[in-house]
Amino acid sequence: MIRCFLTFSMFLFCAIGFAQARYQVLKDTTDSNSIVHKVQEIPEIEVSSKNPLSNIKSSSGGVFIDVPKLKKLPSILGDSDPFKALQYMGGISQASDASANIHVRGGENDQNLILLNGSPVENPTHILGLFSVFNPDLIDQMQYLKAGIPAEYGGRLSSVIDVKNFVNPPLNTELSGNIGLIASRLSLKSHIGNQLSYYAAARASYIQYVVMPLLLKLGVDPQLTQNSFEYYDVNAGFNYYFGAGTKLSAHYYRGQDMIQIAELSQFSFEGNSSRWGNHVLGMQLSHVFSNQFSMLHYLNFSGFDLNSTMNWLANDYRINTDKKSYNYKTDFIYLAGKHNVKTGLEASFEKQLPITIRTESNDGLQTNFRYNRFFSGAVYLRDEWEMGPLLLNAGVRTSLYHKLQTYTSSEDSEPSAIDKAKSYFGLEPRLSGRLMLDDKSSIKLSAGKHYQYNNRVQLINFGLPIEIFVAASSVTRPSSLWHFSGGYFRSLYSNHWEVSAEAYYKSFSNLLEYGGTLSDLFSVTAIEQLMYAGKGHAYGTELMLRKNFGKIAGWINYTLGWNYRQFDDINDGKRYLASNDRRHDLSTIVMYNITPQWNVSATFVYATGNRLNLPRSWYIIDDKVVLEFSGYNAFKMPDYHRLDVSLTYKLPRWQNIDSELNLSIYNLYNRANPFEVHYSTKTEENNYNYKIAMTYLTPILPSISWTFHLK
């Protein structure tokens, strides 16, 4: 989204993170859609840099991500990733090292609405979460909403992360890319005449061709180097301007991850391979009727599938999940006086396979879950109304959900209650307000109700996205949330500095946890039967200090938070700390422009360790060691902290190529942050020594990359 502020009909436009452009804007608004399509039409107006008061003046708890700045942050393995850099924002906590799971203000990972040009993206990361699925060369805008989410967004409880590719069509043909040790990328942006602009981009890793031979030379077990971990993704799209305020755009994304393990005899683990990926196809048609009235239509397809094969204990297991979603959305924007009214509707049809696991060794042994099919829809209306120092954003969203009757194997048999069709209706009032106390400070309050009808429940948590899709049914009610938030925002020293303090309270209902054993998956026909439902609440305070301008810029975010869950069937019904409970969460970023050519930056993050289940004793039965667990989430992992630095040198322009070399060091002081915790044991005969041990992935990690941009 784009922010702007009013100077009658002509005013400066603040677009974060992309090339400066001139154009006319209709009105002071937080709404970008009403003006985005104007970009191409009037490209002559000088535009300033980022509005220094944007955070103080905005009505919602949204943050407009400064994409170019985030690209300068230190990154892992030489790849700058604005999406991964979201972890440095207030209220967001990263799950663990090498994970891109995002938990916003105590929410779950599946509660974030992640959009690529308006199309939902199910799985936002590649390979153990090390990279995001979004190609950094294409990202023009990112918006992150953690509170005061306006009524036009719905379907997820905790946050909205709205990524927009290719918002600004190029004036010339542009070729950009990055060459790194593990992966490279290339993107092309161009146009044909004034009406058609297009882009295409691809990324791919080549670990088995570069890193593996290197490892082999370093003496790593050749058996290990037979394994492969790769990903690729492609993006393509176009914008077409019909003139008279009409624009058609389309985008396509396809990405896939592949992991193969040849053999690991010590684990009785062989012939394992997994593939998974997202598929996104979307179209958008916008039309401006007048300076007051415009309209947008979205047509989207999103898909996600996973296929995994494991040989485990002499049995071959095939694991499969599949989800397809077809979505239509329309928005109408009406600007009248001090009102910015937006209304619209959304309709989706989704079809998903919760999970299938089948064994190859013995016929007939497989899970019996069937595809769930459901419609969901929403109608919304909201008004952003400016009354002097007060900016109100009031709206309501009514959401509808209808699960179709599940196909049963026999037509004669009466479907069970769980298979029958089921409908839900949700009323979601949203209200947020900002009151300017003077021209430098404001207070903001927001309250909102949210519903989520479709969940992803984690089954295994070690990098592979093996999650179960669970939609609302007669036994699993929709998850819902009441979210209250408020804060004080102030700018200091001629807007060079900015401080804020926010507090939030969230009350979750009908959260889901998998309540069965693995073997239970084979004995029921509806996954909903294996779910526990419970409630949760989270509260906390977020403090922020930020320096916006100067040779040195950066920010400090600190969050003090509590996050609880309570399920009747877990922990004897007693309240317990959620696995992503983070008492303290601190992120600091400093960027220093030494000269126009040299730039250095550093980030530091600190977070209280995740909560998890660990055993308190073990025993042997039937020649097998069994662990007995302590209270739910009673164990806290070691605290997480890390310092990264990055040095960028802008190379002199050669021909038409702008390029820069980047040296980054991830985890400068080599902190062993746990990736996961497990039990270690001595293997000597008759010695039984069980201890908690942890694996970590990322000690000090220098990397170098070359990024180029050809115009």
Partner: protein, 295 residues
């Protein structure tokens, strides 16, 4: 005994990727003390058709406690009074060392022999506390008799090796499940084909199971794995167990395998059929055995 259980069965991905990017490391010293440890008496007892009952007793071990081959014996219960009854006859079991397995001490009967379809009661009295009405108790019924229908010998990829399958006629209404063991001539004892999911209560009619005994990884013949050598004499043993026992062993198989992986959202205790503070399983099984020479 095989103590090399698959503690990190899911971790290879993590480990591999760690090595892959030259990153792998392990910090074994996390400060951790067991919270809320409570002593449990672990009971593992069975009565097979045509055989006398056997019961093994031990204590659970706090995770923070290091145990070696000497101190592990402190966890073996050797002074309990174990009584088995068939409702009419009651027998106090005698005991002896049994170093072939853990716990290396067995309580066994000499009077009551298991009969298919009959119910047996177990009572364990231990220490001063767990006596009389506080004794640890359980009961089980031996399933009805069944037959091994046929055994299939099929060629493997290597000329001198074969795969084995066994077919059993299953009556679904009995709600029994089956565990299958084999003993090659070199094996000291029966090795189970891991049931994991193949002893399913919903199976019906003639069912064929491929035998793939999971050997000890320290075994020099590990690579031979699930195959059987031509000329070898192999004993096949199939046992039928009831639904309670099936549930217990299914979960046990899963729990013990995944035990090393904290990432599984699975911390439910096993479905014990022993009264507290006892924990474990007392089960009856109908047994069929067959010896074949691999052709």
């Amino acid at each position: 005994m095989d103590f090399s259980f698959k503690i990190n069965i899911h971790n290879p991905y993590i480990l591999l990727f760690g090595v892959l990017i030259l990153l792998a490391g392990c910090y074994p010293d996390i400060d951790y003390t067991s919270k809320g440890y409570t002593e449990k008496i672990i009971v593992e007892g069975k009565i097979e058709s045509g055989k006398y009952p056997q019961v093994y007793l031990s204590l659970n071990v706090p995770l923070s406690e290091s145990v070696d081959s000497t101190t592990i014996r402190d966890k073996v219960i050797r002074h309990a009074k174990v009584t088995v009854s068939d409702g009419n006859v009651e027998e106090i079991l005698t005991s002896k060392w049994d170093v072939e397995r853990f716990p290396p001490y067995v309580y066994f009967g000499t009077e009551i022999k298991g009969q298919t379809g009959k119910t047996y009661y177990l009572k364990v009295e231990y220490g001063e506390e767990y006596r009389g009405e506080h004794a640890i108790k359980s009961q089980t019924t031996i399933p009805l008799d069944f037959q091994i229908d046929s055994v299939y010998i099929e060629p493997a990829s290597v000329d001198s090796l074969r795969t084995l399958s066994v077919a059993i006629n299953i009556d679904k209404d009995r709600k029994n499940a089956y565990r299958i063991y084999t003993r090659k001539s070199k094996d000291k004892r029966y090795i189970e084909t891991p049931i994991v999911f193949n002893s399913d209560l919903s199976l019906d009619g003639l069912q064929k199971f491929t035998l793939s005994p999971l050997p000890n990884k320290n075994d020099s013949s590990f690579t031979e794995g699930k195959y059987f050598a031509v000329g070898d004499a192999v004993d096949i043993k199939v046992i039928a167990i009831d639904s309670t026992t099936t549930r217990f062993f299914k979960d046990l198989t899963m729990f013990s395998i995944i035990a090393g992986n904290i990432s599984i959202n699975e911390i439910k205790p096993l479905s014990s059929n022993i009264t507290e503070p006892g924990f474990g399983i007392w089960y009856g099984c109908a047994v069929q055995t067959k010896r074949i020479i691999i052709q």
